[in-house]
Amino acid sequence: MADHILLRHRDIPDLDQLEVYLEHGGFEAFKQAVTGMTPQEVIDVVKASGLRGRGGAGFPAGVKWGFLAPGVFPRYVVANADESEPGTFKDREILERNPYQFLEGVAICSYAAQANTAYVYCRGEFWDLAHELEHKIDALHEAGLLGEGIFSTDYSLKIHIHLGAGAYICGEETALLDSMEGKLGQPRLRPPFPAAQGLFAKPTVVNNVETLTNLPPILNRGADWYRSIGTEKSAGPKVFCLSGCVARPGNYELPLGTPFRQLIFEHGGGIPGGRSIKAILPAGASAPLLPATDEVLDTPMDYESVPKIGSQLGSASIIVIDETVNIAWLVHKTTRFFEHESCGKCTPCREGTYWMHHLLQRIERGEADLEDIDLLEAVARGMQGKCLCALGEFAIMPVISGIQHFRADFEARVRNGR
């Protein structure tokens, strides 16, 4: 893409400085919304744009805002900057390098939701970044773009930064809200959904950083322009995070619907050392892994096409696996992650991730029998559909798909130990 829409800092130097952002049309979209549109009109434009949540679920953003309990105030907007999925590092680049576009997105979303307070929930590890964002917010107050009576209207808005303290599960929106309330970050039973009773039991919109960063260009250039990018059902640009066994790992902003092959080989420079590609994890650790067949490599990366080949696009964190990687080792790594990050609230996830990790350690150490591979799969299937939130479901996906496509790798580990 010649001109970046989300990673605009790559085209415009010093875009993280407010005066530079303003010179390049910054906060015109927010001004247009506050001075010339009703909140409902903003929601309608976002609905018409087809923007879908970029945190992983792909739920239409405007529709989500439309669920806010009518007539109940105060309302809150919470930006989810708890970026923790293995292989995902797009929000960090946006927050560091293009922070004002993100903050303008928070402001637009807050206006649409009729919220006067917004919070940015940053993972605790983003310590320096969070403190830098606080300075950026101060600069917006000084410029009159936040605070009381914005653009001489009666709209007022404050944005606060809230630091987490190290817990993957807080990326799940209801766990995030409990964490913000000073509790253990554990998912809530739903309903009620956050749009009805979210932060402090008030109607709340929770959106991912990248989702919010899409809002200023959508308002500036219109829903039709936005829909002209990407595919019919998956509109717009997406920041694809490319990592693993690839020559040029990094973030790549491309239209949704770009095939895996183009990302990995054209943009990412392919597999180093003349090795061949073996598999792809298309959504970090949280989706089934796919053998790198021609069919898979030629699949468009969008919310409809990836499920058709048996996986998910999720947050679009593509981890490339080459022929030297044993899949039992890989599944041990992902399972160790989920075992560590399981919040412990529901039994299938807490116990299931523990036992899967235990079995995989046995396989990795060469202490397992061949039946342990079946037992591992049985534990995974036993968790399926029984967990309180998506984490437990995510945890079993690499396990089941790994055994399905690469059983020989597990057997090799078992045999080598005997």
């Binding site: 293995p86 292989g87 960090r92 190290g166 000073g182 790992p249 981890i319 919040c343």
Partner: protein, 166 residues
């Protein structure tokens, strides 16, 4: 007491949340304590609980849940290497092993002078910068990407010098 030394910080933290939702300030206050004392001491937990009108247990339980909070001192600087899948594919486990060997400690251990701990941690959202680690210490948390054993050892020397002069 935190309240005496950090009264303005505490005030601005509490101002972020509704008056009847002070409990939201618990993590920021625990960070204040940890930067001051190196861990969240029992005295600090009691003080935070009093400030927020919650039970000490409600403060203490967060320490086991959140990985960045500590109830006992480790190295003054905690080097937390991401050894999760994407970094591991770029050699992070070997990097962690070699760094520990140079420092003469096990992963998870602390140098005899109490200055440096090395830990393996989960994904830090810097997968394109592997091998990488964060340093958690009295000044918060800083990222260090695209590291080698040599660059990490140079940073450790610098941290030790910073401590001598500070």
């Amino acid at each position: 007491m935190l309240a005496e030394k950090y009264s303005s910080e505490i005030e601005s933290i509490l101002a972020k949340y509704p008056d009847d939702r002070k409990r939201s300030a618990v993590l920021p206050l625990m960070y204040l304590a940890q930067c001051e004392y190196g861990s969240v001491t029992l005295e600090a937990m009691i003080e935070i609980a009093d400030l927020l009108d919650i039970d000490v247990t409600q403060v203490a339980s967060l320490i086991g849940f959140y990985t960045l909070l500590w109830d006992r001192p480790g190295g003054k600087y905690r080097i937390q290497i991401c050894t999760d899948l994407p970094c591991a594919l770029q050699g992070a486990e070997e990097f962690a092993h070699q760094l520990c060997e140079k420092l003469g400690i096990q992963l998870g251990g602390t140098t005899p002078d109490g200055m440096i701990s090395v830990e393996g941690v989960m994904c830090l959202a810097a997968c394109n910068g592997a091998p990488m680690f964060q340093v958690q210490g009295p000044d918060g948390i800083q990222y260090h990407e695209r590291q080698t054993v040599e660059s990490a050892l140079a940073l450790i020397d610098e941290l030790r010098k910073r401590d001598d002069s500070g």
